[in-house]
């Protein structure tokens, strides 16, 4: 679905259905509803870089008609009932940190901000689980658990500005996912309100039948509004062990990662930076030895500042040239971190180090990995100067099995090289494969050219990744951005997604226009 942005100075009028629903909603929520322009403006977008381009031009995506702030699950049920009666869309809204346009109100409707559902329960020390409400911010949740002596182990770079509900809806991954898993791995059960208004709670095992939780997780607001989840927690780690290693080539580094995971080792972090990424950051602003970038933000924290210093916007207009220059760099950096019980952590790290050395790695000591750990949330929320000068940046995270990882890497780089400057790191690894996280920087001559290039970049990059066997997303989700490729990936199986939609949201009120639904 293509979205036509509107002028931020003149918002479209509120729909009749929204006006009609507003009075009822106002009563049900004791006034916690807004039809104000500022609120509609604030809830019109997330962190999708394309929407950021529009903002730079004084435009915004079509805003919701209204915003509501429920305080508990019963109020969410009531919102769904009223929206159904008025046939008005509801757009679940966490913290708006999504990067694919998942919260855009493409058909108008009501943004449902769930952040007031923020309670976190006591950890059950026997089962090592905790129940938390879906609107809690990631960082608040983690601090609460730390105070009880536990960790969730979920550390997305956006932890300060994303919610549990958003994580569930987009199948989020944290930086330590290789040990603790993605959010779907740590969820024991969910509570949610379906588009029918029915409240579902998925029970813990043992239970019979398909796992409904796994059918709702990843639904990006199209099947349900999450209200709470029971999550697996872990005792706060006793010890951390760090190691940085240099490899002569990407292939060698990827092979080392593969061997680590195939050998059953479970580092919390295993991130391999491709050569130019490694080199760029060695020259970046951070003090101390070569600090790898996490390349974690969409509004680039590390790469863009480094590039602004070293490249002009004019050079960015010739990405092929920069990409060729990048080929001169060869060696790449692997950052490893283990955590957990003290003795086991030390032993695993020792074993991993030996295995990496056998695979051609050179030991750089602990420092590169310690640096990475220190800087792991150093995400800049400011637009970089180079962006002001007409460049734009985005990131693409896909995943593939080990046999395909290098092919995905090469094909995406080759496809994107004429359009954008590209770097990549490999992270979120499992026994069978890992995620590839590409960062792109490109520029256009004017607003129209930038948007055209942005679309071309994504089409090219994602098609190359998918044709090499990758899945369209590892942890950012689909939103509006990747719908075409999702449709391809689902093929005839999309029928099952449609069946889910009809059963959970028969009136199609939940986040319409997303996930191809």
């Amino acid at each position: 679905m293509s979205v036509v942005p509107v002028s931020a100075a003149r918002l479209p009028p509120i729909s009749g259905a929204a006006h009609a629903a507003a009075a009822e909603l106002g009563r049900a929520l004791k006034g916690r509803i807004s039809l104000d322009e500022q609120d509609r403006l604030a809830y019109s977008r997330d962190m999708w870089p394309k929407a950021l381009l529009w903002v730079r031009e004084g435009r915004i995506p079509p805003p919701p008609d209204a915003v509501v702030w429920p305080r508990d699950e019963a109020e969410v049920v009531e919102i769904v009932r009223i929206a159904r009666a008025h046939r008005i869309p509801l757009i679940p809204f966490g913290a708006g940190s999504g990067v694919c346009g998942g919260v855009l109100a493409v058909q108008g409707g009501i943004a449902v901000d769930l952040k007031r559902l923020e309670r976190v329960g006591r950890v059950d020390p026997e089962s090592l689980t905790v129940e938390a409400q879906a609107g809690v911010l990631g960082e608040v949740l983690e601090r609460n658990l730390n105070a009880q002596g536990y960790t969730l182990g979920h550390f997305p770079s956006s932890i300060y500005m994303s919610t549990l509900g958003g994580w569930l809806a987009a199948r989020s991954a944290g930086q330590l996912s290789s040990l603790y898993g993605k959010i779907e791995d740590m969820t024991v059960g969910v509570r949610a309100v379906l588009g029918t208004g029915e409240v579902v709670a998925t029970p813990q095992r043992p239970r019979r039948g398909p796992d409904l939780a796994q059918l709702l997780i990843g639904s990006e607001g199209t099947l349900c509004l999450f209200t709470a989840a029971t999550l697996r927690v872990h005792p706060y780690p006793e010890e951390r062990a760090f190691r940085g290693l240099r490899f002569r080539t990407v292939a060698e580094g990827v092979e080392a990662m593969r061997r680590l995971f195939r050998a059953g080792l479970r580092p919390a972090v295993a991130r391999l930076y491709d050569p130019f990424d490694t080199a760029l950051v060695a020259r970046s602003r951070h003090k101390g030895p070569a600090t790898p970038p996490s390349l974690r933000g969409v509004v680039r924290a590390d790469v863009l500042p480094a590039l602004t210093r070293q490249l002009s916007a004019r050079t960015l207009g010739r990405p092929g040239w920069i990409n060729r220059a990048a080929d001169l760099f060869r060696s790449c950096l692997l950052v490893l971190m283990f955590e957990g019980e003290a003795r086991r952590t030390a032993r695993e790290e020792e074993h991993a180090r030996a295995l990496c050395l056998r695979t051609g790695g050179e030991d750089l000591g602990e420092e590169p990995a310690r640096n990475w750990y220190r800087e792991r949330y150093a995400v800049s929320y400011k637009m970089s100067k180079v962006v002001d000068n007409g460049a734009f940046a985005d990131t693409m995270e896909v995943a593939a099995t080990w046999d395909k990882v290098l092919d995905v890497y090469e094909r995406v780089r080759a496809a994107v090289a004429p359009v954008a400057f590209v770097v990549c790191h490999f992270s979120h690894a499992y026994q069978e494969g890992c995620s590839l996280y590409f960062s792109f920087v490109a520029s256009g001559s004017d607003d129209v050219d930038q948007e055209r290039r942005y679309d071309q970049l994504w089409r090219t990059a994602l098609s190359a990744a998918v044709s090499a066997g990758a899945t369209v997303s590892h942890h950012h989700g689909v939103g509006l951005l990747k719908q075409t490729q999702l449709r391809e990936e689902l093929g005839e199986g999309r029928r099952m997604l449609e069946a889910l939609k009809r059963a959970c949201d028969p009136d199609g009120i939940l986040n319409p226009g997303k996930l191809t639904l």
Partner: protein
């Protein structure tokens, strides 16, 4: 089933159509295309699969590509897991520590039945054995998921088929995740003062990453014996044994001489919660454990409690039954797979 449909099925399958004296009919298509043709016939005749018709996928038992790099294998729905495991071991791979009950099944029964295709990975998480599935949906179209270690491309639709008892579609093949063949196996035995101490040692060790093939728990008058069989690469086994010992000693346990493990007979298995396991031990029941996960364990030989894992379940017992049945109605409007019962 109408005579017309019966004739059509017989013409299609010839010798692979078997009618018993008691009225049971077994259809044994030998590949996916033939299974699709069977489903097409039921759909064309607008008839659901009647209870007396059994469709066996035993002939769809091919083992496809074994990829040692990704550690995956492609397998047909009818492959017996024991045979698959044998083949994999020759290629230095393994499905991991499966229980005798699991190994006695073919792939489709393991995935679609109460085991729901789950195995345990180091760290104690339950994970679906398939990386990707191919299944036939009720309209004869193919559901094919993409092999990827993880994905955020919408909901995990494979979940409809795992534990789905064939209500949403029939799995025809799958790409399965394999481990490296465990090169070492060691057995360690301990005595602890009480069931609580034994279970919390074990559970903590699992959370730390210990990977057990099997654990025996034997409550005695004033102590509980815990005997654990640890598998993995040699260094991993050493690490795991040391972690387990650490947990046991921290709870006042002592080492014992392990009893040589007996060959495991295929007894009925049940999935039970740790609480239930604890209650059983308190009552003096011994337990042989498999698939020891943080959520639950599989107990062999218990005849009550938890979730029985043998045979097939029915959707009327499902958790979240109403929603799942509503999905089944949407996915299979003609009720070819028996629809929503």
């Amino acid at each position: 089933m109408t005579d017309d449909l019966r004739d059509a099925l017989q013409r299609l399958l010839v010798a692979r159509f078997a009618a018993e004296a008691d009225g049971t009919i077994t259809l044994s298509p030998s590949h996916e295309r033939e299974l699709k043709a069977v489903l097409d016939l039921f759909r064309e005749h607008r008839q659901p699969l009647p209870p007396n018709v059994r469709i066996s996928r035993a002939r769809m038992d091919g083992i496809g590509t074994i990829d040692p790099v990704a550690g995956t294998v492609e397998a047909g729905a009818g492959v017996p897991l024991a045979r698959l495991e044998q083949e994999l071991r020759q290629r230095d791979l393994s499905l991991g520590p499966l229980s005798p009950g699991m190994l006695a099944l073919d792939l489709a029964s393991f995935l679609e039945g109460p085991y729901a295709g789950l195995r345990v990975v180091p760290g104690g998480r339950l994970e679906a054995l398939p990386l990707a599935l191919t299944a036939l949906m009720s309209d004869g179209l193919r559901f094919i998921s993409r092999p990827s270690p993880r994905s955020a491309a919408g909901p995990d639709l494979d979940a409809l088929f795992l534990g789905g008892e064939g209500r949403f579609g029939w799995i025809t093949s799958a790409t399965l995740r394999c481990f490296q063949r465990p090169r070492a196996e060691r057995t360690a035995a301990y005595a602890l003062s009480a069931p609580d101490a034994a279970l919390s040692s074990l559970r903590t060790a699992v959370a730390r990453g210990c990977w057990f093939r099997r654990v025996l728990l034997q409550p005695e008058r004033d102590r509980v014996l815990l005997q654990a069989e640890v598998i993995g690469p040699p260094e991993g086994v050493e690490r795991d044994l040391s972690s387990l010992a650490h947990e046991v000693f921290a709870r006042g346990g002592r080492s014992q001489t392990p009893v040589p493990p007996a060959a495991a007979p295929a007894l009925p298995e049940r999935e039970v919660s740790w609480d239930e396991l604890g209650r059983g031990l308190d009552e003096g029941r011994a337990a042989t454990l498999y698939r020891i996960a943080l959520d639950t364990v599989v107990v062999s030989g218990w005849t009550d409690g938890g979730l029985p894992l043998g045979g097939r379940g029915t959707p009327s017992d499902w958790a979240n039954r109403d929603v799942l049945q509503a999905i089944a109605r949407e996915a299979d409007p003609l009720s070819v797979f028996g629809g929503a019962q």
